[in-house]
């Protein structure tokens, strides 16, 4: 092991996660819990105590944890996925001392057994070693080896290697050995860790986004979500995909029942910002990523029994919600909590729209987009008439994919009604 020659002069260190990963499937609670366990791994061997600070506290913690991208104000920019994963600052008097930064563009995982992504707990233990004053080690079993070695096991059972223990104890001494030395107050319990999730693969092949034919497409808080089977992609408002690799549905939408394999429609409810996901004859309401309550029947939206929803969108022009099934649609009044009378009507009211669209969504600029197969139809803001050059291929515009070839074997755009 190597020592940085800087050390904390106190035995209790405070910490806080200031920013969380933006696109990871890990919840904030899981991230906090992993950080707690990573610090505890060092605390057990040295007697150091780590106290999480409330996010509202005005005081600055000793170890401030951030998930940051590219240049992030500390002269050590991150480099996107791969390459450098994280760094931490050695102990000292400067406000940045002890701070720990993770590259937010990595795919951070916990409990992944398929080798995909980077295990956040393993990297956190390593970085906190730096935050306590350890340098890199060349010992084979050391967590302080500079190259990422993969997951290190379950956080609650992890123990440091002898090399790491000895390095730490050179700086801080050993943990109390007798019961009389033990602290009399127990630290606050960390948030519980969720069970390790099953691997993404091998049972589920990852679909190709360039194939189109999405189950659902929705604009959720400015980002466009493309759902396909148990996967989804996210397109940021800048037009950049969060990742070319899709995220797992159930890792993101916390509480979505495991038996729901397909999201057939989705939208963000205008009146309260809740996100509604539809599948079969039911829908689920989410606040942010967390499920609220149980599955609800479509009848709650005034649809006849046995109906399902293929597409749903909220039209900013009148604030109404449009529920599309096949070639018909209902117009739902959120304030009155019932469909408007006289519905369902034929979708051909939307002049030029495709027959039975995959989904419909409204962009950040207020334009309405119908999607089907690998094509989209744009309706300018407030208009129910498709642009004359519709349909256009989705790939180049939305998904960083090439335009479909003119190969006669390739699927042709469906005919507009």
């Amino acid at each position: 092991y190597a020592l940085s020659s800087s050390v904390w002069k106190k035995r209790t260190l405070t910490w806080r996660v200031q920013s969380f990963p933006q696109s990871s499937a890990l919840s904030q609670q899981t991230v906090r819990s992993l950080m707690h366990h990573a610090l505890t791994a060092w605390g057990i061997e040295s007697g150091l105590k780590f106290q999480e600070m409330d996010s509202q506290s005005p005081a600055e913690p000793d170890i401030l944890i951030d998930f940051a991208r590219a240049y992030h104000q500390d002269s050590y920019p991150f480099d996107g996925q791969g390459g450098t994963l994280a760094h931490a600052f050695f102990p000292g008097e400067h406000s940045i001392s002890g701070d720990t930064h993770f590259d937010d563009e990595e795919i951070w995982t916990f409990g992944s057994k398929d080798g995909e992504g980077t295990d956040l707990f393993a990297v956190a233990v390593h970085e906190f070693g730096h935050a306590l004053g350890l340098g890199h080690s060349s010992a084979p079993d050391s967590i302080m080896r500079p190259f990422y070695q993969g997951p290190v096991g379950h956080p609650t059972e992890y123990r440091l290697s002898q090399d790491d223990r000895e390095g730490l104890q050179q700086l801080y001494g050993k943990a109390p050995q007798t019961p009389y030395d033990e602290p009399t107050r127990k630290p606050l319990a960390p948030p519980p860790l969720p069970p390790a999730l099953p691997p993404d693969r091998p049972s589920l092949p990852v679909p190709d986004r360039c194939d189109g034919n999405f189950d659902a497409i929705a604009n959720i808080r400015g980002e466009t979500f493309f759902f396909k089977g148990p996967w989804f992609w996210r397109l940021q408002p800048s037009g950049q995909l969060v990742s070319p690799r899709p995220a797992r549905l159930h890792r993101f939408w916390e509480g979505l029942p495991a038996q729901v394999k397909v999201i057939q429609a989705a939208y963000a409810r205008h009146r309260d910002g809740r996100i509604l996901l539809f599948s079969g004859s039911e829908f689920w309401v989410f606040q942010d990523r967390r499920l609220e309550g149980a599955a609800r029947p479509l009848a709650e939206l005034g649809l006849p029994p046995g109906e399902k929803v293929d597409a749903v969108f909220s039209w900013p022009l009148n604030g109404k919600t449009y529920l599309v099934q096949g070639q018909r649609y209902w117009r739902y009044d959120e304030a009155a909590a019932r469909p408007d009378p006289g519905y369902p009507r034929d979708l051909s009211l939307w002049e030029g729209a495709p027959h039975t669209p995959d989904d419909v969504t409204v962009s950040n600029t207020g334009d309405t987009y119908f999607f089907k197969g690998v094509y989209y139809w744009r309706f300018p803001k407030g208009s129910v008439k498709a642009e004359p050059d519709s349909p256009k291929p989705m790939g180049p515009q939305w998904l960083d994919c090439p335009a479909p070839s003119a190969d006669p074997h390739s699927p042709r755009p469906p005919k507009a009604t």
């Binding site: 791969g82 450098t84 730096h130 060349s138």
Partner: protein
Amino acid sequence: LAQQPAAQDVSLGVDWLTRYGYLPPPHPAQAQLQNPAKLRDAIKVMQRFAGLPETGILDPVTMATMHKPRCSLPDVLGVAGLVRRRR
């Protein structure tokens, strides 16, 4: 005989070794030519940290390891480490 690494690999390797503290940073006021023996020693230390055979040669395995995901702190806390700590 070991195959000589390509000039581009040597250049990338030297950059990488400097970045992670195995070689001293270049002096801004003078052109520098790496001493082959010092470069070989630096590669050997790097290979030790990476768990590779310590050959001192920028072989394909060593080059590939330089592209593996890692922590962005330097491995050798010499000048580079001190600079970081001062910041």
